[in-house]
């Protein structure tokens, strides 16, 4: 594949368009057919082969304009420095000659060439910009240029030396702009990926406001994957062996002839979830993401009922029915129109509230998720109610944002709740949440 197209494709990838091998082959064949002659046609052709949605097309457009922008040299400084010299000394280095004669096209080509030599497409971080500028300058022959400037100064050609110095500055500026542009083209996605990796592992309680939008995108990405992963398994699990009993029973109508076989069906249940989330200040951020996560999994969960608690416990399922997930989470965050009291966290009281009004929502098919740090302000933990809930449910999972060494320290009642849970997990990053889904799906057994 030719170098230009290859660079262009990696620039597109850098801007976030996913391009497969087969697509780049298409692009290559398109270029073979069309050639680089007509800019408009080339753009349309590459767009058809590489950009596969409206948004991608917009990105493509921008990228194309930037990539195929002519790297014209601006030389306002040398312009003002008087007429260009035509009598060139063969002693001067090639770069000096080009600068003195104002050969912008030549300089542009030399810069592009130098950039390729130092592998500009590998630029990843903005801190590397200076390095690349230096490298490109070196590659273009900075050494020779410096030597010439020195020599002119010594040989009593002050004017020439000054002029060359100005030209060197202009050259530096041009290279800087060029590297800047290349950085925009090639580096953005690498940084984006790093941020994503970082955010996946950051403690949810430490996420800053400015990263929320990004986190949401990551949650969407994760849940989309999980949704397809698990919903597909549910479908393929739908075949099995011959169910002989059922076949006999159903074929009585045909006088006992085994005419219509019946099959044993394997079916994976979708888990039915009841979530109890602590929304006191210490756990709020994590609750928020848990809810965002759970409700984005609507394709693999049968039903979710959600309760939030602090000093008391209230049901918020209806908020999710009414609004979109993100709106609902924000609404709950602010507590608008909900009879929740945001006083001291009272786990015992919350459990009692749950027992009195909603215990019958828990059946032997329900997975109960409790999210909280179990910091009960030294109140009565009422562990017996948790026990009761556990006995009624299929499974009770406690998610604690604190790490294990802190369980049971101070006012934390985690150690006392621990025996009444089927599973206790630490849950403080998006990766933890993702793993939670595996646990949830495993509890939904086959039968």
């Amino acid at each position: 594949m030719d170098q230009i197209l290859e660079d262009f494709i990696s620039a597109l990838r850098g801007s976030g368009i996913r391009i497969s091998i087969s697509e780049s082959t298409d692009a290559m064949r398109a270029v073979e057919l069309m050639g680089y002659g007509d800019r408009g046609v080339l753009k349309d052709a590459l767009s058809a082969a590489l950009a596969k949605s409206q948004t991608e097309e917009e990105i493509f457009e921008e990228c194309f304009e930037r990539f195929f922008a002519f790297d014209a040299f601006s030389n306002r400084k040398t312009d003002s420095a008087g007429p260009m010299e035509t009598d060139l000394n063969t002693q001067d280095s090639l770069l000096t000659q080009m600068l003195l004669s104002g050969d912008n096209a030549g300089l542009s080509v030399a810069m592009g060439h130098a950039a390729r030599q130092v592998d500009i497409t590998g630029i990843k971080f903005f801190t590397q910009k200076g390095l690349y500028i230096q490298k490109i300058m070196q590659q273009m022959g900075l050494e020779g240029l410096n030597r010439d400037i020195k020599r002119f100064a010594q040989e009593d050609m002050k004017g020439r030396a000054e002029k060359l110095e100005a030209a060197k500055e202009a050259l530096f500026e041009n290279v800087q702009n060029y590297v800047e542009r290349q950085y925009d083209l090639f580096a953005s996605s690498a940084t984006e990926e790093m941020i994503e990796q970082y955010l996946r592992n950051i403690g949810l309680s430490n996420v800053e406001q400015r990263d929320f939008q990004r986190m949401r995108v990551i949650v969407q990405k994760m849940t989309k994957r999980l949704n397809t992963l698990y919903s597909r398994r549910r479908k393929t699990a739908n075949r099995g062996l011959l169910d002989f009993k059922n076949t006999l029973r159903n074929n009585i109508t045909y006088g006992g002839l085994l005419f219509e076989p019946k099959w044993k069906k394997r079916k994976i249940d979708r888990p039915d979830v009841v979530a109890l989330c602590d929304v006191s200040r210490s756990v709020k951020a994590v609750s928020r993401f848990l809810l965002l996560f759970l409700y984005s999994l609507n394709e693999i969960l049968e039903r979710i009922r959600t309760f939030i608690f602090c000093s008391n416990l209230v049901e918020v399922t209806h908020v999710f029915d009414e609004y979109s997930v993100e709106e609902a989470v924000t609404k709950i965050d602010m507590g608008v129109g909900l009879p929740i009291i945001m006083g001291r966290t009272d786990y015992g009281g919350a459990l009692l509230d749950f027992k009195e009004s909603w215990l019958d929502t828990v059946t032997d098919k329900t997975t109960v998720l409790v999210l909280g740090d179990a910091r009960n302000n030294y109140g009565d933990p009422r562990t017996e109610i948790l026990r009761e809930i556990k006995d009624r449910s299929r499974r009770l999972i406690w998610l604690n944002p604190e790490s294990e060494p802190f369980w049971g320290t101070g006012d934390s009642e985690m150690k006392r709740y621990l025996p009444h849970c089927d599973l206790v997990r630490r849950c403080n990053t998006l990766n933890h949440l993702e793993r939670l889904v595996e646990v949830l799906m495993r509890t939904a057994t086959l039968h």
């Binding site: 064949r29 046609v41 767009s47 058809a48 082969a49 596969k52 949605s53 409206q54 097309e57």
Partner: protein
Amino acid sequence: MKWLNEEKFSTIERIQQGFDDVEYVCTKKIATTLYLAYHLGKPILVEGPAGVGKTDLGKSAAIYLQVPLIRLQCYEGLDESKALYEWKYGKQLLYTQILKDKLNDLIQKSDGLSESIEKLHQHDDIFFSSPFLEPRPLLKALQQQEGCVLLVDEVDKSDQEFEAFLLEILSDFQVSVPEIGTVSATSKPFVFLTSNNTRELSEALKRRCLHLFIPFPDPKLERKIIHTRVPGIPDRLRKQLVSFIQQVRKLDLKKVPSISETIDWARVLLLLHSDKLSPDLVRETLNVFLKFEEDIRTVEEHLYDFTEKSLARA
């Protein structure tokens, strides 16, 4: 596998001219994509708002190439038996009944069960052969000797399973029918898929297609389209109505009028023998290009303003 009509795709200009002749205004972008699709042998995935001529592109391509158009309208629950092939159950049953005596003759002469089955086996595939096969659009498209244009309309409305099933056909132009074997195309069909973006299509499908996005046209292009489609309309009126529609598109409407609506409106105005827009005329004909009561009310608010501007511009 052969390709149809090579010379009709020799240059981009040729394609543009050819589509103009069949009354489809083909922009350079569309022509370039068609050219590429032909030479790379790839299907085209056409996206864009409703009514900008996605389906029409397929139809016009069929007319231009002078080959049959085979259209598969997608909807939720569309499956292989509706899209690819089906056995003619009725015919199979009927034939077994008619041939009952023959079958009896065949079996009677033999003694024992195993020998009868043996005899039946010699003829077993008879009821599962091509005369009993009902080809549906996709299979039909592969069977066309002279090639065809296959239009898979609104592919986003179909289920994901169906989309996966399309992949084999789109990349190799062949399908496997278990009872018969693999059917491959004798001549490559020219495939268009259209999508309204009601859901995101899978990466795999997109990868196999060239992508073409048709946006709302700019005034110049729209005037040209009206000129081609409604040739009788006076020049001045044409400019006015296009300018009016362009302004309406900038409003926040439930359903923005697209090209097909502009054409309808132009036809209506032509029928009414009007020679220029006036607020009253527009008010009476608003329902031609607006499909919601709310939208009509919104546009009515701007009626005088818009009409005046369109009159001034033309």
